[in-house]
Amino acid sequence: METLKLLIVDDEPGMRMGAIRTLKDFRFRVRQADAEVALLLDQAESGEEGLEKIASDAPDILLLDHKLPGISGMQVLERLPKTGREILTIVITAYASIDTAIKATKEGAYDFLSKPFTPSELKYAVEKAAAHIVLTRRAQHLAEERKRIRFDFIRVLGHELKAPLSSVENYVSLLQNKTLGSNLADYEKVVQRSALRLEQMRKLIVDLLDMTKIESGNRPREITLCDLREIAERAIEGVEQQAAAKQVCLELHAPPVLPFSADRSDCEMIINNLVSNAVKYNKDGGRVDITLNLDNSTARITVSDTGIGIAQDDTAKLFNEFVRIKNEHTRNILGSGLGLSIVKRLVQLYDGEVSVNSEPGAGSTFSLTLKSEPQVQA
């Protein structure tokens, strides 16, 4: 329940009483914001008293009589505080003159009520103003929240980019200062580590661009009939070298062809990310099983590994950005921390779900579903 403060400024006691009687127990819903609104009422009998009340406790809505004995309603409008929370003013005029309306609008009035008005006309005007306030505040709140998330993201991204950069800078300084002497062979490890950290940085930037493209929504997507089996085979080829180095054996369980209507590059990103993780986080001599099947228009992809696994507490945050579970097993594995977050975003595009089942030390199984997209006829 949101409570909005409403101040009635009118010199006629009857008008004030009438308005209070009408609005006292008035509750209404702002449907677009899913909010229930109640009013907290106050009154003033002159412009001067009104301005005093506004200065000490600003209302959200001001019901302001145009014709007041001392300073006029128009002068009250002029003197409203211009900073801080916006006050929505409904001006009450005796005659709906266009002239008054234009002048009041220039001074920032939100709406008009011309005397005499019925209780329901008053309610309608107040409800409209309240909805405007609630929705504007919601939008502001959302914009602030978005700004905060964006800021956090950039802060972490900055850190993630700075870390490899510092390492490479350090290593280069060793070469620059000939710290290990003039024999280039003595720098082999330094150069190799630098190359690895640079590779990590490149991966991070590529993933970041992928993610931005997905998020922006204006990435050209071409829905065609893709063969998921073929995409998985290519993904396996892509990690062959890495798998061989760790003696990880990969096996694909899928029908000979698996036609699925989707954007090919989406499917590639999903399958590549999962297969590459399954190798990267595997143990030497481990195995990876990739299972694909199609059930009507839903594709099911399962990638299981016999790797280091993930603790129960960590699985919940696994799909968030820049989450890389840090422990003794992952320390030497480079990653951008964006791969699974990309997978999740893509899966959502296909109205699907992704989940993980894992046992530390035994392995992880990532399962996801994708609903096929209707093909656009050229």
Partner: protein, 130 residues
């Protein structure tokens, strides 16, 4: 003269350890590496470092602070250099400028990463030869 001096270096970034080790060994120091606060605690249980180089953010954002306390408790005479690069990321900002801060941060010197070779070696010499 740095020959028999053992430096305990503690950092969860492999490359930071690698870099520090190269510089220190070239300068003639003996180096003991620890990749976490836990590993460092284990090491100090069995040995005494002549000087320690400790990273701030490891298992937890303040792991370095805690480790410094433990080192100083066991070996009050062992100088500690704390390395940080975290101000902008964690919001933890400090400097051993005031007496209160010095009493709280149990490190004898604070250096910001990336730390230059000569800067690190100069600070080490200063702390080892008071």
């Amino acid at each position: 003269m740095s020959e028999n001096i053992t430096v305990l270096i503690v950092d969860d970034d492999l490359d930071a350890l690698e870099y520090e080790q190269i510089i220190l060994e070239q300068a003639g120091y003996k180096v003991a590496r620890a990749e976490s606060r836990a590993e460092a605690e284990e090491w100090i249980a069995g040995g005494k470092p002549d000087i320690a180089l400790v990273d701030l953010m490891m298992e937890t954002p303040d792991a370095g602070f805690v480790l410094c306390h433990h080192i100083k408790k066991k070996y009050p005479a062992t100088p500690i250099i704390m390395l940080t690069c975290v101000e902008s990321e964690t919001g933890i900002e400090f400097d051993a400028a005031t007496r209160e801060e010095r009493s709280w941060v149990k490190a004898d010197a604070l250096l910001k990463k990336p730390v230059r070779q000569e800067q690190l070696l100069r600070e080490m010499t200063r702390l080892l030869n008071p």
